[in-house]
Symmetry: none
Subunit: 299 residues, 2 copies
DNA sequence: GTATCAATGAAAGTTTTCTAACATTTTGTC
DNA sequence: GACAAAATGTTAGAAAACTTTCATTGATAC
């Protein structure tokens, strides 16, 4: 009993009464403006009474029309992505109240979707090109987000020269801030916890004219007018505090973009770097996948 | 005076007060889920009062938050906002070959699902309990995976004492390896690139009897008989090489588990740590979410 | 035809959401 | 550092949204 709103509406069509069927039909065709409706406004539109709307939602298994809307929000809907029935099972458990986790899963999935959407924006393309071509690339992040910066830097280093991780260890960020702005760019990973540091850095970078890309959570209230691109990653997954985990996917996608941009010419470099790592850390395999992409032409 | 909601929000950023700017930014970041919010729920998320939300909407020229939503309806227009629709769109592009990346999305989603499945296993529970109770917790990862270890360590430190990140900087891993095995445990984040180091460490740890949890990719061929728990995270997402991004989700889930295990008694500590961070990095907000879980009893 | 029952609506009650008035805090100024 | 002005939070009350109860309608069975 954990069908999506759309599914429930569709199945209800078979058995529903006249008024209910009208409602179901209307809702299905106007699914996308449903969140803006209220039980009363809906009732008026299809010319039934308000209680009928409420009752209908209850026969569908929701507590009220508002409850239906709430489900719509989390509704990832249809099977296509249903990775087997494993997920369904998780969701059913969640519905039974046994599993707080499953609700978080849906939120993480929807965060992933947003990230892949970001990767289709013009800003994304701009950043990727910049990361591929600017001589000096700096990335920075504090505390947890440092890990994200590290992912970006490590992988980019396989692909190109001049990629560095910034650090407050030196006491200032002189490294970037006194570099030639035309030759440098900066990526900041941020979450609300560490706002001030990131913000100060962004301000200074703007002052000297270094392009800044900010990856942050929806709570960031200072980025928009300071940075060149701002990528907002959802971070609320029903956990006891926010999780920036999905920023890692974003970092990887960025790196992948740079790879596509640079094209096969990086392969020689990758060989060498791989060998070096191998020499110092005992790695034996190849980091490069054998996916079709790797041989393909750059985008 | 017929600007779109987005435009109005953006222009307001220039002149708005602090709370208003926070609101505007958040709204801009979460435009697509705004219709589901209510003035109160929004207020709670960005931690301002309810009337502030109403007032802000009025300064934007709307009658109320509800009125803003009504206008949003026109703005959002045809653009799909339901996660299911957005996902479908990406999938269609992938199928049409227009979007190389989108093909990887499904794989990432399914990786996420497997992680949430892991979180339901007895091994998981065992690790969580161990991470909550063992006096000394060590985590380690090399290169990219170092970022994952960092996530775990950073967040665990909010919750408890005695959590450390291991490092090869010292040349050996003496720190763990000569500690009292009954008082220590170790989490290794690994991907095939750095197999040897991780493996050597695991071997030594086993020798001295320290419990080891291994988080790795599906290519790891040495873990099973060496470690106490082995969590395998999918890493092939159609990118030019493997991505361990979803390990970040795993790390976060682990931390969340420990939080639930420790229960409300950690809140005092969290307050202190938060304050310390604030002192040194200028963080001003609260890291703790106000989700229902946070107040709830431990699992 | 009429008795019965499901479906629906009307009206009144309850809860949620929003607003107005006032108190408090913050910010800026001198 | 004290004052004024602006911004924000608190409290309580108005409005809206939703539910419940009960009356009415209209279909179906006999």
């Amino acid at each position: 009993m954990t069908a999506s709103v759309r599914e429930r509406l569709t199945t209800s069509l078979a058995t529903a009464s006249k008024a209910d069927r009208i409602l179901a039909n209307f809702m299905l065709s106007e699914l996308s403006s449903l969140p803006f409706e209220t039980a009363a406004s809906l009732a008026a539109k299809v010319d039934v009474s308000e209680p009928t709307v409420g009752r209908f939602c209850r026969t569908l298994g929701y507590k009220s029309f508002k409850d239906l809307k709430d489900h719509l929000k989390q509704d990832i809907g249809q099977q296509p992505w249903l990775v087997s029935d494993r997920l369904r099972e998780l969701r059913e458990r969640a519905a039974a109240g046994e599993d707080q986790l499953a609700a978080g899963l849906e939120l993480e999935i929807s965060a992933l979707v947003s990230i892949y959407e970001l990767a289709r924006t013009p800003e994304w393309t701009r950043v990727v090109k910049r990361l591929a071509s600017t001589p000096n690339v700096y990335a920075v992040g504090f505390q947890t987000e440092r890990g994200m910066a590290q992912i970006l830097v490590n992988q980019l280093q396989y692909l190109r020269d001049g990629v560095r991780m910034l650090d407050l260890a030196g006491g200032s960020f002189a490294e970037v801030l006194v570099s030639d702005p035309a030759q440098s760019c900066l990526v900041i990973f941020e979450a609300r916890r560490y706002s001030r540091l990131s913000r100060d850095l962004a301000i200074e970078a703007k002052k000297v004219g270094i392009p800044v890309t900010l990856v942050t959570d929806p709570f960031c209230d200072w980025g928009r007018d300071l940075v060149d691109e701002m990528f907002v990653v959802p971070t609320e997954f029903n956990q006891f505090w926010e999780s920036t985990a999905q920023m890692a996917s974003l970092a990887n996608l960025l790196v992948n973009g740079v790879f596509l941009e640079l094209g096969p010419k990086v392969e020689a470099r990758m060989e060498i770097v791989t060998q070096l790592y191998s020499q110092f850390t005992g790695y034996v395999g190849k980091p490069v996948n054998r996916t079709s992409q790797s041989g393909g032409k750059p985008a």
